[in-house]
Amino acid sequence: MGDYAGYVIAAYAVTFGGIAALIAWTVLDRVGARRALGRAERAASRAGDAAAGNARDAA
């Protein structure tokens, strides 16, 4: 590629580095969202159990 090889390689590295960061963000964000949903659902079922327990005690 002659004298300009460095520039071409740098441009492709920057581009695909950006694309890799985008894909990494997508994957990590999905993992984080799934965890957040799991936490929320566990908390909801605990709260549901507690509410059921309270209802039983009251009865």
């Binding site: 590629m1 950006g18 969202a33 957040a36 549901g48």
Partner: protein, 251 residues
């Protein structure tokens, strides 16, 4: 509440968030594979199977990533503007999600086009940055993306965030042509050294094919990442709803 339920039953279309999630989950692997394939073909054509330019030498190969990234940077803004219309006119929740998740992707494409353009400019212009009309417009576009992302994160309620940011996005759509025109005008006033035109209409077919394949690959990448990010945002919203319901229930 009952009316929304009924419309969902009557129209179980792709714009129903639940159906959308299932469809995305099913077709995501194919879309990702197609994207990878397009990039493989595009890279082969761009780096091996295309000629060097008689003036610019090997640096013309930078065009095959720089120009598609710039196209996608503008295209993403148009997607955001359409989503803003969907939010403001039809009040569709999926449009909210589409607009929110497109902004970071557009910012990344804009940044890629700026960085690769700057690297291309160094051997061509002799400087990393030249106040060329295209580069300058792109820089302003990047600031607009970042401002919209900041606005989106600043408002807590997702529905209101979508509507307010949608208005700001549409103001940006009106402004982009004005900015482009003013920057072009400013550039012709200050034309010092000979400014090179990179991608004119007279491009040889041997360079056009790799360019179009790369553009297709970038387009597929956008679709893959955007649909996946929309799915993620829907999961986040469900988590939010569950949290809010739990908080109300225990109180």
């Amino acid at each position: 509440m009952s009316t929304t339920l009924r419309t969902d039953l009557v129209r179980p279309s792709i714009i129903n968030p639940g159906r959308f999630g299932a469809l995305v989950d099913r077709y995501m692997p194919f879309l990702a594979a197609l994207t990878a394939l397009a990039f493989a073909v595009g890279l082969y054509l761009a780096l091996w199977a295309s000629p060097e330019d008689y003036q610019q030498g090997a640096t013309v190969r930078i065009m095959y990533v720089h120009v598609p990234a710039a196209w996608l940077a503008l295209f993403t803004y148009m997607v955001m503007a359409s989503a803003a219309l969907g939010t403001l006119v039809w009040r569709h929740p999926l449009a909210d999600v589409a607009g929110k998740t497109a902004a970071p992707i557009g910012a990344v494409f804009t940044a890629i086009s700026l960085a690769s353009g700057s690297i291309w400019g160094k051997p061509m212009w002799g400087a990393w940055w030249v106040w060329d009309a295209r580069l300058t417009s792109m820089l302003i576009l990047l600031f607009m993306y970042l401002g919209l992302i900041a606005l989106w994160r600043a408002i807590d309620d997702p529905g209101r965030a979508a509507r307010v940011t949608g208005i700001a996005t549409l103001v940006g759509v009106i402004n982009i042509p004005i900015i482009k025109f003013s920057v072009d005008w400013w550039n012709t006033l200050h034309q010092g050294a000979s400014v090179m035109r990179f991608d004119g209409p007279t491009i040889h077919p041997s360079m056009l094919v790799p360019l179009l394949v790369m553009a297709l690959a970038f387009m597929l990448l956008f679709a893959t990442v955007h649909l996946s990010a929309m799915r993620t945002e829907l999961i986040r919203r469900r988590a939010r709803t569950v949290r809010l319901r739990t908080a109300r229930g225990t109180r």
